[in-house]
Structure formats: C-alpha cells, structure tokens
Symmetry: C2
Subunit: 232 residues, 2 copies
C-alpha cells in the first residue's frame, strides 16, 4: 500500500458535529472562524491533525481547543477527500459526531483564538457553512437519524433526569415526524433501559410528569441487531 511513490503536501484534519438538544430544538455547535479562508463564516469545529496524535485524539483535542468541551467521545463517520474541498490546498478531513447534554450554555469559549466564539445553532436554521461543511453536516445528520432508529442513543442529549414526553419530543425532532404517545411509551419502557425515579417534574402549571433516568447497565443489550431467518 504505502510505498509512497508520489509525495505531495497533504494535510488531514478532523471536523466535529456536536449535537445538543435545547428548548425543544436539535442544535449543533458551530464556531465562528477568526482566520482566512472563510473568516467570520460559521464552520464545524475542526482543525489539523498533528503528527504525534491519532485522528481520534486529534478530534478530541480540536474540539477542546475550539469550544472548551473536554473529554467528549466522538464517533468517526466519514472521510471527505474531494480535491478542491479546501481553497488553500489538498486537505482531507475525517468527520466525527457526538451527542451531548447541553447544560444551558448558549455560547462556549474557544481556548485558541482561531475561533471567535462557539455557538449552538438549531439544525433547522443553519447558515451556509465554510468549506464543504454543509455537506458534512448533512451526511452526519443522516447518520444519527439512522442510528437513533436502532440504538437508543438519544439519552445522551437529554438532561440526566427527563420525562417520557421530553424523550418523545426529541425523537420527533430528530426523525421529523409525529409519534403516537401510547406506542412510544410502551416501546421505550419495553426496552427496559429506563429507571423510573420517585421524583416528579417541578414548576409546570399542569400535572407533573414522572422523571426517568437512563439505565446504562441494561443498555449493552442493544448493541447487536441482525436479520435472522429463524433457527439460530
């Protein structure tokens, strides 16, 4: 494979799509660029991979530097390698995503000044992004839509304690369709990965809903799903 018959200046980078859920909306974290090219444009948090780090490590470091978010586990989902995707030269980028619990912050503080700021933007309301980041986002969004359909990963987006209605809203936003309340509850509870708490919602002017927690121990059960034709 890599006997390096042709060398050229090449760069690889990592870009991150960080999903959050807030005010009933699915959002992603964008930075406002402080450097050319695309200065002052919004972009996915991303930067160049160093020589001494794996791409996974780079993704984590880059996210930290650009947004202050630390120790976020991300999943690689696609590598973008069109010749002209970066105006300054050949840059191949490996794209990652993660879903995280928003803690109310609207704006995060970049560590480097390569980014002016990092902000949460609703996916329904995204501006045109720098480079091919709009395309990267599109592919990443497809990926999580697909993934949420067979793995209950949505919990990562919710506060630690949540109501079933909040969970359903989240599914509805991601899948972009209305779901049946009774069927949704039945199915979610049947998964047996929710722990019912003794607590209730507070501060609402209607009947308070029960709070639930995600039960991590039982979760692993849902990491294999195969088609089968009977008789194992």
């Amino acid at each position: 494979m890599e006997n390096i018959p042709v060398r050229f200046e090449s760069i690889f980078s990592a870009d991150c799509i960080i999903f959050g859920f807030d005010e009933g909306e699915l959002k992603i974290l964008l930075i406002e660029r402080n450097e050319e090219p695309f200065k002052e444009w919004f972009a996915l948090p991303g930067n160049v991979v160093y020589q001494s780090e794996s791409i996974d490590e780079a993704a984590e470091r880059i996210l930290y530097e650009l947004t202050g978010l630390k120790g976020i586990y991300m999943e690689q989902f696609y590598t973008f390698g069109e010749v002209n995707r970066h105006p300054k030269g050949r840059v191949i980028t490996v794209a990652y995503f993660a879903m995280i619990r928003l803690n109310g912050q609207k704006e995060l503080k970049p560590i480097t000044n390569y980014a002016k700021k990092a902000v949460w933007v609703s996916v329904k309301d995204l501006p045109k992004l720098a480079f091919d980041h709009s395309e990267i986002f599109k592919k990443g969004f497809e990926k999580i839509k697909n993934k949420i359909s067979y793995q209950p990963i949505a919990f990562e987006l919710l506060p630690e304690k949540f109501t079933l209605t909040q969970l359903q809203n989240l599914y509805e936003v991601i899948l972009n369709k209305k779901l049946d309340k009774r069927n949704f509850r039945k199915k979610m509870l049947a998964y047996d990965i929710l722990k019912e708490l003794d607590e209730k919602q507070k501060g609402v002017s209607y009947r308070a809903a029960k709070l639930y927690k995600f039960d991590k121990r039982k979760y692993s059960k849902y990491f294999h799903n195969e088609l089968s034709f009977g008789k194992e």
Copy 2:
C-alpha cells in the same frame, strides 16, 4: 479547521477489501507485496492517493493497478489513523469495500509490479496481513455482515443466474449460521426483488433447481429503513 498551523510530511492512502464468493466460500482479494516494507507479505490492495484525484477515484485506480479489476464501485467504511500504523511514517488510510462477481479467475494480474500477484483467499483462512490490514479486514467484515442483514446486497457476489439454495448458502457463510430453508425462501421471495427464470440448473445429479435473477428495478425500495412508533 484547516488553517494549517503545523505542517508535516503526511500521506494518505486507500485500501480495498474486495469480497467474492467461490466454491462455497467467501473470499477476499489480496496482493502479495513486491516492495519493502512487508515485502512478500500479503496485504489488502492499497496505495497512495495522488494530489489530483479524490479518494474515491484513488481507490478505483489503485484497485485497477494492483489487480487489473476495472470500474469497481466501492463504498468507504472507515479511516484508520493510528500514529504508528505504517513503519515508514505517518500514513492515514481510508478503507473501502466492494462485493463482486467472481468469474472463476483464481489469480489476477497486477498492472504495476508493486504487487507480485493478486489472489483470492478464503476469509476463514487469511494469513497475517501487512501493516494493520488484519484489523482493517476485521472491521470491513463486520460492516458487510451488518449491511447484508438489512440490505440485500449479497446478489453482487453471485453469478447472474443463481438458485435460492446458492443464495442461502451465501447468507449462511457470511452470517456464519444455518438458516431455515422455508423461512429463507419465503422472506427472499417476499422482498420481490428476484425474477424467476424459465431456466433450470444443469449438470446436477438430483432434481434441478430453478434459476433466479436479481431484479435491479425493484431493489431501490430497500434503501430506507427506519424505526417507527406508528402513525407516519
């Protein structure tokens, strides 16, 4: 993202896992390397991406140069970027897979002499591969196992006309388990992507089976599968 604060000599390559089905076995195409490092080791067909081509284009070109196979559509599945995966320097590789119809050839002729030869090897019988290719293979194999469970991609591996038993054998080999004949046939026919031919198997010393063809037009129906909670 890519403001290139740190430059270093970096290379990216593409590696291909080409699956074939022959003599009742699932095989992949390996090259025997003719260059250091790992000279005379078996490896996945792979090489360096050129400056002027996208990674997808590179993968196709590389496969052609190393095996003579032309115009094979491959799907990217993962990018491997550990720091020390290549002994001669930092090389990030983008891995692809494809499933193809074997036409009986056991050995393919490389166009370049970077590979001595290209041979089909049963996945049950793989030697230790150069670089981290064993790991790449493992991940690719998982991927197709998973994919075949929700998309009928197995046809690409079979001859144009095939019997249901051949199709079932292929599924059994890939999924590594026995399937129920009646249920398998019921399900496959229910997909409605098989065209029954007027022809029968020849040259067997038992009841000849009907031959089928894959019906491409009807196939597209199976490119979306979502979890649902009722009420679309």
